[in-house]
């Protein structure tokens, strides 16, 4: 079932948690709401669930049905909480059965049906053997899977997960998120999960919604948001990035002593701009070309791991730059601290300072 959010606002006191948010989530997709803390991602999720009521105006549609005025218990959503929120006085079995047991007598399944449904859900999350355990006896990852089984028991139309892996340690987190992806591929329920971990969002989701200051900054597939960030915020938030103060004029960009082509600014009058380059999108050379390279000083190199990391300093203004090279290239270069080299951005993305314009990426 698709979810459409239209012009939703939410305020906590004087804090604008959601600022005119509109968002379309296609049916059957696994979507990540990604943003720093305070960006409004959890609030948006809770508004969709009906756990927070937004300001008047706007609408929330499930498929084509308006649900904004419906309370949480009429929306038929599955919600998984960051800290699991399992009923800790109930066994695992009773936790999963809860949503079925509280249904009104007319539609409540029989004891046998409830038992069968709970067993099959426990099988789905691979915890059949734990039916009689209490939540306290389970590990964090197990608890989260029980929380998921409990949410799925009522056959929700959409599944909402609030930082589902946030409270787990790194290894379990990676296992569990891959497991969630596989589970989603099996059951294909429209799912939205909140995360502040960009790696998690990029790895697991079909689509990433990047949020900041209560607004949606960009919506796109993981490739789109990583490779074609819509604005400086998304650039900063997704992965490491170097930024340069630049000047653009009529199709040329002047960056830290180098002159580079900038076709998207062709015919434009001179303007200040900011250039962004990812660390792996910079080539290091020994000889300066025809003014198309940025002179820099090698400060430190680190060859541990599959990629080598080099910290440099721009000669022009002393700003730090980070470059990531393949092992082979790193060994070939034999860089030494204190040596002067030249940097060639393979892919520089420029944003004019005036309106943070949404220019197309420049491939150099």
């Amino acid at each position: 079932m698709s979810i459409s959010v239209r012009n939703i606002n939410k305020r906590f006191g004087s804090f604008q948690a959601l600022n005119d948010v509109s968002l379309d989530i296609p049916s059957g997709e696994l979507v990540a709401l990604l943003g720093p803390s305070g960006s409004g991602k959890t609030t948006l999720l809770r508004v969709i669930a009906g756990l927070e009521s937004p300001l008047p105006g706007g609408s929330i549609l499930f498929q084509d049905e308006e649900v904004k005025e419906r309370s949480a218990h009429d929306r038929q959503v599955g919600f998984v909480f960051q800290h699991y929120a399992l009923f800790h006085h109930m066994s695992v079995f009773e936790n999963v059965a809860f949503g079925l047991r509280v249904q009104p007598r007319g539609i409540r399944p029989s004891r046998k049906e409830i038992s069968d449904r709970v067993r099959s859900l426990l099988a789905l999350v691979q915890l059949e053997a734990f039916a009689n355990h209490y939540p306290r006896q389970l590990s964090g990852g197990q608890r989260q899977r029980i929380a998921l089984a409990r949410a799925l028991a009522v056959e929700p139309t959409v599944l909402l997960l609030d930082e589902p892996f946030g409270a787990l340690d790194a290894k379990v987190r990676i296992e569990l998120r891959r497991w969630l992806r596989r589970l989603h591929d099996e059951i294909h329920i429209t799912s939205v999960f909140v995360t502040h971990d960009q790696e998690e969002a990029l790895e697991v989701s079909d689509r990433v919604v990047v949020m900041n200051h209560g607004r949606v900054e960009q919506v796109g597939t993981p490739e789109e948001v990583y490779n074609h960030p819509a604005n400086p915020f998304v650039y900063h938030f997704l992965g490491a990035v170097n930024h340069f103060a630049a000047r653009v004029e009529n199709g040329r960009a002047f960056v830290a002593g180098a002159e580079l082509p900038a076709p998207e600014f062709a015919g434009r009058a001179a303007a200040a701009a900011v250039g962004y380059v990812r660390p792996h999108e910079i080539e290091i050379i020994r000889q300066s070309g025809e003014g198309a390279a940025i002179p820099a000083l090698v400060r430190m190199t680190n060859g541990a791991g599959p990629m080598a990391r080099i910290d440099l300093e721009r000669i022009e203004d002393g700003e730090a730059i980070e470059v990531v090279l393949s092992r082979e290239r790193f060994e070939e270069l034999e860089l030494r601290a204190g040596e002067t080299v030249y940097l060639v951005p393979r892919r520089l993305r420029l944003f004019a300072d005036d309106a943070q314009s949404l220019a197309q990426p420049a491939t150099v």
Binding site: S71, A72, F79, L86, F87, F98, G99, V102, R150
Partner: protein, 293 residues
């Protein structure tokens, strides 16, 4: 910088660090002895005195003193008062705790202070409040009299005063627990489709039941033993508006020591039953807690 780095680490000083658990045995025994001695002199001994004095005239006299019509009436009134005040306070206390512990609203801290009010003011004043409100010269006195209702110097006044004094116990026990538990489990129940009642009975209540029972027992102990507030509103009418504590006082003032101690022992045994129940609650809740671990 370098000097500190090069200085050898001083690992020779490995004398044990003194903690409460590693005090020398003599100190431990002394502390335990002091605590036990203090409890013995100030709590156990007086309780024994009550029992010894009660039976000084023999079992026959004891039974006679606690079975006089006035003593029986006092016992009955005490039990009736507790039977009305405690359930009502349980309901009100739960409602207050639920709203304070689970919701954010304007006036929340004011409500919290109001709940503490009965603890803060003297019981005599608590009684006086009702005299000033419902007494003949009070605000509602004329209206009550014209409708032939009596509150002060009657059972309703005693119940009201007792409720006022014992109100905080249930709420005070339950609020911290509800606040600590937060609202996530309730929210989870809500999105799973549970109604308000279902959430309360199936999720909230099981989480607070031991604290609630504990609060109820404390409230009950105080309801049966309250003297000050009840004394002001009761009017001390023998056989009618005397509760057990008031009856003890009357007997004592009449130099009827054997009877006074006899009734006092009855009151003390009610308290002991409550205490035993409380201990049982702690034991059972501790055990179920451990089982869950």
């Amino acid at each position: 910088m370098n000097t500190t780095l090069n200085a050898p680490l001083d690992l020779t000083n490995d004398a044990p660090i003194a903690t409460a658990a590693t005090d020398p045995p003599a100190v431990r025994r002394l502390l335990i002895g002091l605590a036990l001695g203090f409890l013995g002199i100030f709590i156990f001994l007086p309780l024994m005195v009550v029992l010894v004095e009660a039976f000084r005239g023999g079992v026959g006299l004891y039974l006679k003193s606690i079975s006089t019509p006035d003593a029986r009436a006092a016992l009955r009134l005490t039990l009736i008062t507790a039977a009305i005040a405690v359930p009502l306070n349980t309901i009100f206390g739960l409602a207050a705790a639920w709203s304070i512990g689970k919701f954010e609203f304007r006036g929340r801290s004011l409500l919290l202070s109001l709940i503490d009010l009965p603890f803060a003011i003297s019981p005599v004043i608590s009684g006086l409040i009702y005299v000033l409100m419902f007494g003949l010269q009070g605000w509602m006195g004329p209206w009550l009299r014209s409708h032939d209702l009596q509150v002060i110097f009657a059972v309703p006044g005693i119940v009201l005063a007792t409720m006022f004094v014992t109100f905080p116990f249930v709420a005070r026990e339950v609020i911290p627990l509800m606040e600590a538990q937060g609202t996530e489990e309730e929210e989870a129940a809500r999105v799973l489709g549970a109604s308000g009642w279902q959430i309360f009975w199936r999720v909230t209540m099981p989480n607070i039941r031991w604290a609630l029972l504990y609060g109820v027992l404390l409230s009950n102990a105080r309801a049966m033993g309250e003297f000050g507030a009840v004394s002001v509103v009761s009017g001390h009418i023998r056989g009618l508006t005397n509760t057990l504590p008031l009856h003890v006082e009357i007997l004592y003032n009449e130099y009827n020591f054997a009877a006074a101690f006899g009734v006092a022992s009855l009151l003390a045994s009610l308290a002991l039953v409550t205490l035993a129940a409380k201990t049982a609650v702690e034991w059972v809740s501790g055990r179920s807690h451990n089982r869950l671990h």
